[in-house]
Symmetry: C2
Subunit: 206 residues, 2 copies
């Protein structure tokens, strides 16, 4: 948007080199990182976003949700603070690799600790975009849904270290997007995210 | 190389669609997977290949060697058969993601089990190319080098389950490339691999 720099200051060869190392934003990789309580709707939103972005047809996209991650990266890890941190950092490593190679990573994890989320942001940001989406559905709403019956088990003490009940959830300090599923439809939520990605030029205008 | 198919059988729109899902080989992702004994030279060759491919300047490349993998993906895993299999499959998962997004993954791991290597090959091949490089340096040569002092420790029983001494190494059945570091310089070895990648059209002629 700025003025054109005169040739002595920006040789075309130099500009061409710069373009190689820093692709235009719509061609850069980026990660969308959903965080929120169990039952907040983050996995469903992540899958809808995946479908929405696949429809555009011009990018490779990988979904890294809790189930995929525990299967492929963290089969032996539990839910202690230490293991949760290791788990999130592995996701961060894979997401940053995807972004480095120009792809889109959609992550959906409880990721309850701000420090761990910050580390993922750092890892990914060195290669491309990072958009944190806090799915802020309240504990009361999540617990009343309890689609997997996990809250009941957590209240009964059968499931230990359950985020929101017996393990903390630290609210994100500076998420790029906040979605309260009580106030909007899933379709509206996806549109908010796509609008943000477009505003940041990670997606081209359509 | 085949004859041109007449228009009724291949609409340009269809061809354009196919090109999207199957990029021309020189733009496809691929993995080069080095396997061999400890001290065989696979990590050194992997690093040289990384440098050689980075020089070309047109691709993103990730090196996944034993140290990087144990740090980012498998900090808690040991060297039992079960843990080695899990470790290799994690590398396979990350490599296949890199390849899916059009990147180049260079892996260097002992990877002693044929079954595990086959699984990695399957995971990666569904997204792009897979070139297995067996670094066939003999146990005697590896042990005589013993740059990390590990063979001495393995012989003394201090290091357990050490491949080649107290744990098996299954020779690859159908590797794309075999490198015996006794018969060629590292530079020659890299050229053999680059030639193979070029012959398979994963790298463009230069």
């Amino acid at each position: 948007m700025g003025r054109t720099i005169s040739r002595w200051a920006s040789y075309p060869e130099g500009v061409a080199e710069l373009k190689k190392s820093h692709a235009p934003r719509p061609q850069q990789g980026f990660a969308v990182f959903f965080t929120g309580l169990s039952g907040s709707g983050k996995s469903s939103l992540a899958k809808m976003l995946l479908a929405k972005l696949l429809e555009r047809g011009d990018r490779t996209i990988t979904l890294l949700d809790g189930d995929i991650v525990r299967k492929h990266l963290s089969s032996e890890l539990g839910f202690s603070r230490e293991h949760r941190e290791i788990n999130i950092q592995r996701v961060g490593f894979v997401a940053s690799e995807i972004v480095k190679h120009g792809g889109i990573a959609i992550c959906a994890l409880i990721a309850p600790y701000e420090s761990a989320r910050k580390k993922v942001r750092e890892m990914v940001s060195s290669h491309g975009g990072f958009v944190e989406v806090y799915v802020s559905t309240s504990l009361e709403v999540c617990e009343s849904r309890d689609s997997k019956g996990l809250y009941a088990k957590a209240r009964a003490g059968i499931v230990k270290e359950f985020t929101g009940i017996s393990s903390p959830y630290e609210i994100p300090e500076n998420p790029e997007v906040v979605i309260d599923t009580k106030n909007c439809t899933p379709q509206q939520a996806i549109q908010i995210i796509v609008d943000r990605l477009t505003a940041e030029s990670f997606l081209a205008q359509q």
